[in-house]
Symmetry: C2
């Protein structure tokens, strides 16, 4: 997936969100410069260097690195923790949904897609409960559940690439179902903070570390840019019989792997921007359980 | 008025609109570069040089110059002509509104504010008739009409800074009323194309040249950046007893002149972005007839 003209306003919108979450937009930055000027102008050289034939996630990886360098903080640190708590509470309200389901894998996979609504890189507020209701009750735009179920049943080990903090409380429900089905699940978090993506700290906060092996991918990239992950992760990835990939960033960066038949990947996510929705030929905010 | 963090995504949104109107976004630009890449990356050095303590219009003046250089066309040329025609048709449907009004100046000034909805730099589509209805029937957010009326009555000569193509068909109605009141009106257009701003060509297309003196300001700036206008225009501006200023760009660039009491200016416009609306303490899309 390539960068589209409409990605550029969105890149700067993401920078504004990061600034706002840092709560110091208008703080001085030396020589009469406001911090926002340092950030907005500071990301431009990164975007000028960006290879637009690669995914938008690739371009924003370098942009967000620069933002963190200039801000000297991880602007998403607090919201990640807040939303781990909120999502865990929302999941608490779902007790009985899985045990009462005629097909726990179906229900849990829908909840995992619902959880993907939690994404501060794009949204600033969410209505988790409404999204859960929509995921459980409505048809979803792209539904490869039948082949997903077959793939899960046939798999011995599953590599589960999580996306956002908060969202991973929903991933925990699906991982628990997979474990009950006898699968060997390894959850993968980011190696260091980027956007609101889950790191090992978030996996601990939401108790994912108590139910399965959790590894980090050695990378601070948006999505999963294989070249920039650790050799240990790449080894796991190469050997995995089945990959469950959460979120738009992972879709952007791994779709070509899947398209070229290099890997069996199921993408569970919501399309959160017009560019990706157009690429998919679906309306904005579509829910997907997709095998390319 | 200063540049705000939220202006940056908007700058790039404006570039996307210009690209789209040029109808050649994905056309090649040599060396495998898409035109959109040349534009998006090409405006960054302009924005890096921008003095953010000046108005957003100041920064985008340089940005739009660069866009026109890269595109090698005026991307707004066609829509300006289309909207001159559409606006003239809409004004045709208003015949009798002025002659039947108990206060033609009031009605015509409301229509001139309504016409300011036509702005492709920000919007891509408009509903002219609905806006006219809203302007004529509803209260407007900021209404200094009483002092405007007094200022007009006391003025001998009026400098009328028009804003967009299309919109000037509505300005024509107000200028006709001012002329009937015996005022000496000089309408001012841009010296050369920038965004959808009216130039002499648009003044001719809409017949403004038939009813009053029309001059150009010798500039391709968004709004009116006095330092960058022609000596002839500045002379006219300095001598004018009353200035009617249309549109957000003119407000951004002239508000400090007015605030410092250097000039008697009435601003007739609609607030079309969150940043200006916040500056004004008003909701987005507010209609204003404002003396600072």
């Amino acid at each position: 997936m390539k960068v589209h003209p409409d990605c550029f306003p969105c890149f700067f919108r993401q920078a504004v969100i990061a600034l706002r979450l840092s709560e110091k937009t208008f703080e001085g930055h030396g020589e009469g410069l406001f911090l926002f000027e340092a950030v907005m102008k500071g990301i431009m050289p990164e975007l000028q260097k960006a290879d637009l034939s690669k995914s938008p996630a690739h371009a924003t990886t370098f942009m967000h690195r620069r933002i963190r360098e200039i801000l000297r903080v991880d602007p998403f640190k607090k919201v990640k923790s807040d939303y781990n708590r909120l999502a865990a509470e929302a999941c608490g309200r779902l007790s009985g949904v899985i045990s009462g389901s005629p097909d726990p894998l179906f229900t849990a996979s829908r909840l995992a897609i619902a959880g993907n609504i939690i994404d501060f890189g794009i949204f600033t507020s969410v209505d988790i409960d409404a999204t859960v209701k929509r995921a459980l009750e409505g048809p979803i735009a792209c539904d490869d559940y039948a082949s997903f179920k077959e793939a899960v049943e046939n798999a011995r080990d599953i590599l589960y690439l999580v996306d956002n903090a908060g969202e991973i409380a929903f991933d925990r429900i699906l991982i628990e179902v997979l474990k009950k089905m006898g699968k060997d699940v390894t959850a993968v978090v980011k190696g260091s903070p980027v956007l609101n993506d889950a790191t090992m700290e978030d996996a601990r906060e939401t108790g994912i570390t108590d139910i399965c092996t959790v590894v980090d991918n050695g990378s601070d990239c948006i999505g999963t840019i294989l070249d920039m992950t650790s050799p240990e992760f790449r080894d796991l990835y190469d050997k995995a019989g089945l990959v469950i990939s959460k979120g738009q960033g992972n879709f952007e960066t791994l779709m070509d792997e899947d398209r070229q038949g290099k890997k069996k990947i199921f993408f569970l996510f919501q399309s959160k921007c017009e560019v990706v929705s157009q690429e998919l030929g679906l309306p904005l905010k579509s829910m997907l359980l997709k095998r390319l």
